[in-house]
């Protein structure tokens, strides 16, 4: 076959972003058993074991049966972990196997590359959220009282944890680093952020200490969206989650803009 001569065209401004987002979604769907099914089953097991089995022996919290009360926190937890683990693993793998070079050398602005990865993590996280919501609401009878606030809260949540995943994926030296952050930092903070209880029941000083946990505001904002009930004013929790999101996105964008640790 005769090769074609060089093309004389300007790079299309948006197509690179669209294709990178598509590649990230392609990866999520290709590995759906690992990326979607496993976290959905894990969260549903929490709902069944803690909510339906043990829930009958636990009194109501803020006027809600226990099995209903834990649903928003478990959905938030599954979505946060999905966004984080998706982006940390996809970035680390691309760095480690060096196929990230194909993207870094392509005519795409740094913020397109950043956004492409964020979209991949958000897609996985939102798919899990939708499936869990569709399963959990009929099973537990949990309401969705403020869908707009719930949507805003989960969008901030997926963006924040997606950005955190990118940051860890960029800094990680091994696969262990990512699971370390997930198991030693994110998971404990989520559990201590009130997934299974209301922090207002903790009493002084633990209630006040819980307010230093950023994950408390994430869980509380999502809970307000579903149940219309929260430990603090939802405007405050959403504002704090927004500030955390902006800080993490700024950091991850900095990494792509400067090439820090991505390019020697």
């Amino acid at each position: 076959m005769t090769p074609l001569p060089p093309a004389q065209v300007e790079p299309h401004p948006w197509r690179g972003l669209a294709w990178l987002s598509r590649r990230e979604c392609h990866r999520v769907l290709k590995l759906w058993k690992q990326t979607i099914l496993a976290p959905v089953i894990a969260a549903l097991l929490f709902m069944v074991v803690f909510g339906l089995s043990l829930g009958n022996s636990i009194s109501e919290i803020n006027g809600f049966e226990y099995r209903v009360y834990i649903v928003p926190g478990l959905i938030a937890m599954a979505m946060a972990q999905a966004a984080y683990s998706n982006n940390s693993s996809t970035i680390f793998q691309a760095r480690n196997d060096r196929y990230l070079d194909d993207i870094l050398s392509a005519p795409m602005p740094a913020w397109h590359i950043h956004l492409g990865y964020l979209i991949g993590g958000a897609m996985r996280s939102l798919l899990i959220g939708i499936v869990l919501t569709a399963c959990a609401l009929p099973i537990t009878g949990a309401p969705l009282d403020h869908p707009a606030e719930a949507l805003l809260a989960v969008l901030l949540l997926t963006t924040a944890f997606g950005a955190l995943g990118i940051i860890v994926g960029v800094y990680a030296e091994s696969w262990d680093n990512q699971s370390f952050i997930n198991n030693i930092v994110i998971l404990p903070l989520i559990f201590l952020g009130g997934v299974f209880y209301s922090v207002s029941r903790l009493g002084t000083p633990w209630e006040q200490i819980s307010h230093f946990n950023p994950l408390f505001y994430v869980v509380d904002a999502v809970r307000y969206g579903f149940l219309g009930s929260s430990d603090i004013d939802p405007l405050i929790s959403l504002s704090i989650v927004a500030v955390i999101t902006i800080a993490l996105v700024t950091w991850s964008q900095y990494l792509f803009s400067t090439g820090h640790r991505l390019k020697p």
């Binding site: 090769p3 790079p11 294709w19 990178l20």
Partner: protein
């Protein structure tokens, strides 16, 4: 007077890595538009760092890079370069077809154009039987073909081949070079790094020798041999690039 901008114009390029290693030391290099240019040097001379800096994969410490008159790292400069790196760095989640399709997308092609071009490259590089096979399941030779197909897919003006025939059998090497030769005849500038000196001599219009992060000699193969008063390019290489080491080794042997 030729006013066409050089395919690659590097001025005062320096790269010092975080550990203090000086990989490029105030390097100047101009690769003319339309040339088949060879870059030779030992491991650690700075070839891959130079290529990385040109392709937006390494952050230069200082210096300027220009691609056909466009600033290095700009969208247009990146669009005009195709690179086949030394190590097969293929996306493990994608098949041969998808690797090419997505690469076309990253470089701004729409789905139809990228798909059509991917099929052309699959035929051109004899990858049809492996079209739906994922990269990790390909043999070394097939991966090398796919790397080259990917580098050429978006029809770049400057193709950078970093030791493209390392570990490749003779048959494939000849196939690749015949394709690259035609590509060059059609106006594509080729920058080749290789350890096969006879390959560089046979293919390249001009050759630069790099050592210690600097260009130490540059001319046609015939010009280099004439200047250094030797018969072969290997002797030029030993005298210039490896000169110090060879002299020391000979001195040690005599002692």
């Amino acid at each position: 007077m030729n006013t066409t901008p050089a395919a690659l114009d590097v001025k005062g390029l320096t790269k010092r890595y975080g550990d203090g290693t000086l990989a490029l030391d105030d390097l100047d290099l101009e690769v003319p538009n339309g040339s088949f240019f060879g870059l030779l040097g030992p491991n650690g001379a700075g070839k891959t760092t130079l290529i990385g800096a040109v392709c937006n994969l390494v952050r230069p410490t200082s210096g300027d890079i220009s691609i056909f008159g466009n600033p290095g790292g700009s969208m247009m400069a990146r669009r005009m370069i195709g690179i086949a790196e030394q190590e097969p760095n293929l996306d493990k989640f994608l098949t041969v077809y998808e690797t090419l399709l997505y690469h076309g997308g990253y470089y701004g092609m729409d789905g139809d154009e990228a798909g059509e071009r991917a099929e052309q490259m699959i035929d051109a590089f004899d990858l049809r039987a492996k079209r739906n096979v994922e990269a990790p399941k390909l043999s070394g030779g097939m991966r090398r073909r796919l790397l080259l197909a990917r580098a050429l897919l978006h029809r770049p003006n400057l193709v950078i081949l970093d030791e493209p025939t390392a570990g490749v059998d003779l048959e494939l090497r000849h196939e690749l070079w015949s394709y690259i030769r035609v590509l060059h005849e059609q106006g594509t500038t080729i920058l080749l790094t290789t350890h096969y000196l006879e390959e560089a001599e046979a293919l390249c219009d001009e050759i630069a020798l790099i050592s210690g992060g600097q260009i130490v000699a540059r001319d046609t193969a015939a010009g280099l041999k004439y200047t250094h008063g030797v018969e072969t390019l290997e002797e030029v290489y030993l005298k210039t690039v490896a000169g110090g080491k060879i002299a020391l080794a000979e001195e040690a042997a005599r002692a």
